[in-house]
């Protein structure tokens, strides 16, 4: 697997794929995409990196255990769901939207934070699963 082509390409592919995953995450509200797909693409980026450079290098790159992304993502999604209950007395998961229009993002709402949470959870879960499987092989 560790050909020079893959190794060289993975260095450039990692940021590109991560960028693409964020693009997919942000366009997800009205168009195909969203947190789940974006998260999968991001984890594919890291998996590709680990194929080319070895698992240890990828772990070094990540700095922390990918499992730690799970509680962070869950907390973010949970906050997004619970905000309307706590502050606006609306049912759980009601979409709240910032009325103005923001550049790049379009409109900003709790749904975006929920998706961001999903994104983090998916990255964390997928990487944990794949690292666990490849470590014990």
């Amino acid at each position: 697997m560790k050909t020079i082509i893959l190794r060289t390409a993975s260095t450039y592919l990692l940021p590109v794929l991560l960028m693409f995953s964020i693009f997919i995450l942000l366009r997800g509200h009205y168009s195909p995409g969203g947190g789940f797909v974006g998260g999968l693409i991001a984890s594919i980026a890291f998996v590709l990196h680990s194929f080319a450079r070895g698992l240890d290098n990828t772990k070094e790159l990540l700095r922390m255990h990918p499992g730690f992304l799970m509680p962070i993502g869950l907390a973010l999604a949970f906050m997004a769901g619970v905000t309307p209950v706590l502050f606006f007395d609306l049912p759980f998961m009601t979409g709240l939207w910032y009325p103005g229009h923001l550049p790049v993002l379009g409109s900003l709402g709790t749904a975006l934070f929920f998706d961001l949470g999903v994104y983090l959870v998916v990255v964390g879960v997928t990487l944990t699963i794949i690292f666990t499987i490849s470590e014990s092989a």
Partner: protein, 510 residues
């Protein structure tokens, strides 16, 4: 403040599991957070129950979508009662497991997963959407897979493979059933389904869908031909895990059966007869299975199956008295079965084995604890005035009124066989001469535990035993609750109206 009350148990459990995930490595914190959180959860559940008791069925539409669109959470008296019972068992098991589960297991996220399991249970009880029910079921089984394999001993993994396969199969059948139902009606909201299914002309197709649901929930609830996974897996994990499994997991299957067959597929004579026959066979096979086992936890596992039979029998008779008996039995069984598995864990800690042949002399060594153990054991048999007695009366009366003598016979037979089993257990474990076993090395015997840990193990048993006693001696209160639930279930118009006819009440939020 009370607008969203239905969701508070869910949100609390979710918050707890996320919080526990953040302190992944700090086990002593996890113990404290879990126990304190469970106490708060009991408080919230009592609040929910009393609110529902006074104000009737409450609903919350997640995301503020109007029914029948979107996911809806419904708390009628049945749901609120089961949420309360989940909270009580959850508190007991949380305290018990912080003492009895070894820290090597706790290190791999026992507590977060445990609270995810409780979240799934609460969600399954509260949801009013059939696909959402599937999702909660998946949350329950994924957490239970983790709990059952945590530690990774040989027996555990073997049990887990069986548990895993059958439960996944059940989920697939459930999903298939949902697909067919959606194809038939184009709806997933249970109240909406109740109306639309009643209007379908092709009854054959409806019946097949109902059978698919029966099979799927039957596997989960361990009903007669589908129970073989249960006694093969429930005795393998730590007893704290077995306690929450034995107390609540099969009961979710029963709850789903009750919900689906009182709301969506109502009053089909063929189906009710099928359920009755399954119930009778479950009573026989569970009872006879328990009779020949020697491992204490396997005996209790078979008794779970046997007693599922009572609840299904009440559902099959489908009169108000019978359903009230089922609900009463459900309430009694959750508390007692949780307690029994904790008792087996306590005995394991005392002696290092769960084999009845090798146990004995408990009364000589621990007279007071033996008395404590007697309460759940004899409540299970239903020696009056203990708690198992009253629901059986309701079931037998309902059987007489419906003139189904064979059901009455099976109920009495199963009670008798339970009595024999419990007498055997009592004689073998508590009264028999003590058998000297070789001391196990590196095993934390009960005597050697710190006194805090001892309290954490004994206190939940006392707590649950007191509740058992209350169910027995304060039976008129429980009977009042269960007749009200039965009334709501038989007359499902109430449920449908509170879900679909509520636009006027909730509409002020826009």
């Amino acid at each position: 403040m009370t607008q969203q009350l239905v969701l508070y148990p869910l949100l609390l459990q979710m918050f707890l599991s996320i919080l526990l995930m953040f302190c992944w490595r700090r086990i002593s914190w996890q113990r404290v957070v879990s126990i304190v959180g469970s106490i708060i959860n009991v408080g919230v559940s009592i609040w929910l129950f009393s609110y529902i008791w006074e104000n009737g069925t409450q609903i919350v539409q997640a995301g503020n979508w109007k029914p029948p669109f979107g996911i809806i959470f419904v708390a009628d008296t049945l749901s609120a009662t089961l949420v309360l019972l989940t909270a009580i068992s959850g508190l007991a098991v949380s305290s018990f497991s912080s003492a009895s589960v070894v820290s090597a297991r706790l290190k791999f996220g026992y507590f977060p997963i445990f609270h995810f399991l409780l979240l799934g249970l609460n969600g399954a009880f509260l949801t009013g959407d059939i696909f959402n029910l599937y999702v909660w079921f998946e949350i329950i089984i994924i957490s239970s897979f983790v709990l059952i394999t945590l530690g990774g001993e040989k027996a555990q993994l073997e049990g887990a493979v069986k548990y895993f396969t059958l439960n996944i199969l059940a989920s697939m059948i459930f999903l298939t059933a949902i697909a067919v139902l959606y194809g038939l009606t184009g709806s997933l909201n249970m109240a909406d389904l109740a109306i639309k299914v009643a209007a379908i002309e092709n009854r054959g197709l409806v019946e097949i869908t109902a059978i698919l649901f029966l099979v799927a929930f039957g596997i989960k609830a361990a009903v007669f031909p589908l129970y073989f996974w249960l006694p093969d897996s429930y005795h393998t994990p730590p007893s704290a895990v077995a306690a929450i499994f034995g107390g609540l997991l099969t009961k979710v299957g029963v709850y789903a059966l009750i919900r689906v067959f009182t709301l969506i597929f109502v009053g089909d004579l063929f189906l009710l007869n099928v359920i009755l026959i399954l119930a009778v066979l479950t009573l026989f096979s569970g009872g006879l299975g328990a009779l020949v086992q020697n491992n204490l936890r396997k005996v209790f596992s078979y008794l779970i199956i046997c007693h599922i039979g009572y609840m299904i029998a009440g559902l099959g008779l489908f009169t108000e008295v019978a359903i009230a008996g089922t609900i009463f039995y459900l309430i009694h069984d959750i508390i007692v079965k949780t307690n029994l598995f904790m008792v087996s864990g306590l005995i394991f800690r005392m002696r290092g084995t769960n084999s009845i042949r090798n146990l004995g002399g408990l009364y000589a060594d621990y007279p007071k604890l033996s008395l404590l153990i007697a309460i759940p054991l004899f409540s299970l048999v239903g020696i009056p005035p203990l708690s198992g007695f009253w629901p059986k009366i309701s079931l037998i009366i309902a059987g007489f009124e419906a003139e189904r003598w064979w059901v009455v016979g099976a109920i009495i037979f199963a009670s008798l066989i339970t009595l024999i089993i419990i007498a055997k257990v009592w004689a073998g474990v508590v009264w028999k001469e003590k058998i000297e076993l070789p001391k196990r090395l590196n095993f934390r015997y009960f005597d050697k535990l710190k006194s805090v840990r001892k309290v954490q193990m004994i206190a939940p048993m006392i707590f649950l035993s007191l509740i058992s006693l209350y169910i027995g001696f304060g039976a008129e209160h429980i009977q009042k609750v269960s007749s009200r639930i039965a009334n709501e279930l038989i007359d499902n118009q109430n449920y449908i109206d509170s879900v679909l006819g509520s636009e006027q009440n909730i509409g002020h939020e826009e």
